[in-house]
């Protein structure tokens, strides 16, 4: 794989970086919400 971006690196890396942060972030957020909902439900069902 070729990582030499020449002049354009200043634009390419931030673009990939922001995309990665946002997409990974929303994935983690969604998984966390799922876990919380699951935990809450099992607590309620045990009662």
């Amino acid at each position: 794989m070729n990582f030499d971006m020449g002049l354009y690196g200043a634009y390419i890396w931030p673009a990939y970086g922001i995309s990665a942060i946002v997409l990974i972030g929303v994935t983690l957020w969604s998984i966390a919400a799922w876990r919380r909902a699951k935990a809450k439900l099992s607590r309620l069902e045990k009662k």
């Binding site: 634009y11 931030p14 673009a15 799922w34 439900l41």
Partner: protein
């Protein structure tokens, strides 16, 4: 139509999505991984140099932004006309994802534009349309959050989504018209060389798989949250 209603039952949806989710997750990983690998291995584009790599994450994000709004419009229609029970949850679950894709489309588009046109923002037809699309998403989410009664919020948001969906072609047309009026030419991307086609399609597919995966997770979460709420109401009764 019957097919859709067979999985209208939350139970059925939980079961079905539980089976499908591992596959879409794997699909996401494979497509994105392969797409990135091939994309970064390819030689620089003749016309656009290395910046073509930004297109690999700009076009999928922009396409998803539009597509998700379309999905929300369909869910809204199902909700209002056929009273499909899961469609409200599905629409609500998709909206933040669509909004984020729109933001990514704008940011990557801007970063692609700077080396190409010289400025971070250009009022070209596509970017301007996406900016308006972002506001449509924000308004949609704001309306959902503002109305307290859940059913009412869902129905109101559904009406707004459909009004927006009808308006989107008109907005695109008017923005295109405006663009030719004030600038004389559209500064959109040109053709993609064949060597880039494979990674590009893989990235498109990867973004699609990612959305579907996240969408299912969020719908499942909403279903669980609803069960928890009804249990709490029963417990309080």
């Amino acid at each position: 139509m019957n097919f859709l209603f067979r999985y209208a039952n939350p139970h059925e949806f939980m079961r079905l999505s539980g089976v499908v989710l591992p596959f879409t997750v794997i699909g996401t990983a494979l497509c994105l991984g392969a797409g990135l690998y091939l994309g970064f291995s390819a030689p620089p584009d003749y016309q656009q140099g290395r910046t073509v790599l930004i297109l690999f994450i700009h076009v999928p994000a922009a396409t998803m932004a539009m597509g998700v709004y379309g999905a929300i419009a369909v869910c809204s229609l199902l909700s209002l006309v056929w009273r499909h029970p899961l469609s409200d949850i599905a629409a609500r679950a998709a909206a933040p994802l669509g909004a984020l894709f729109t933001v990514l489309g704008l940011v990557t588009g801007s970063l692609w534009g700077k080396p190409m046109w010289g400025t971070y923002w250009v009022w070209d037809a596509r970017l301007t349309s996406f900016l308006l699309l972002l506001f449509l998403y924000v308004g949609y989410l704001a309306l959902w959050n503002a109305i307290e009664d859940e059913t009412r919020a869902a129905r109101a948001a559904a009406i707004l989504a459909l009004v927006g969906a009808v308006n989107i072609p008109i907005i695109k047309f008017s923005v295109n018209w405006w663009n030719t009026l004030h600038q004389g030419e559209t500064i959109t991307s040109g053709k993609l060389a064949p060597v880039f086609l494979a990674p590009f399609l893989l990235m498109m597919a990867g973004y699609g798989f990612l959305f579907v995966s996240l969408w299912m997770v969020r719908i499942r979460t909403s279903i669980l949250e609803r069960r928890a709420r009804s249990l709490m109401q029963q417990g309080a009764a």
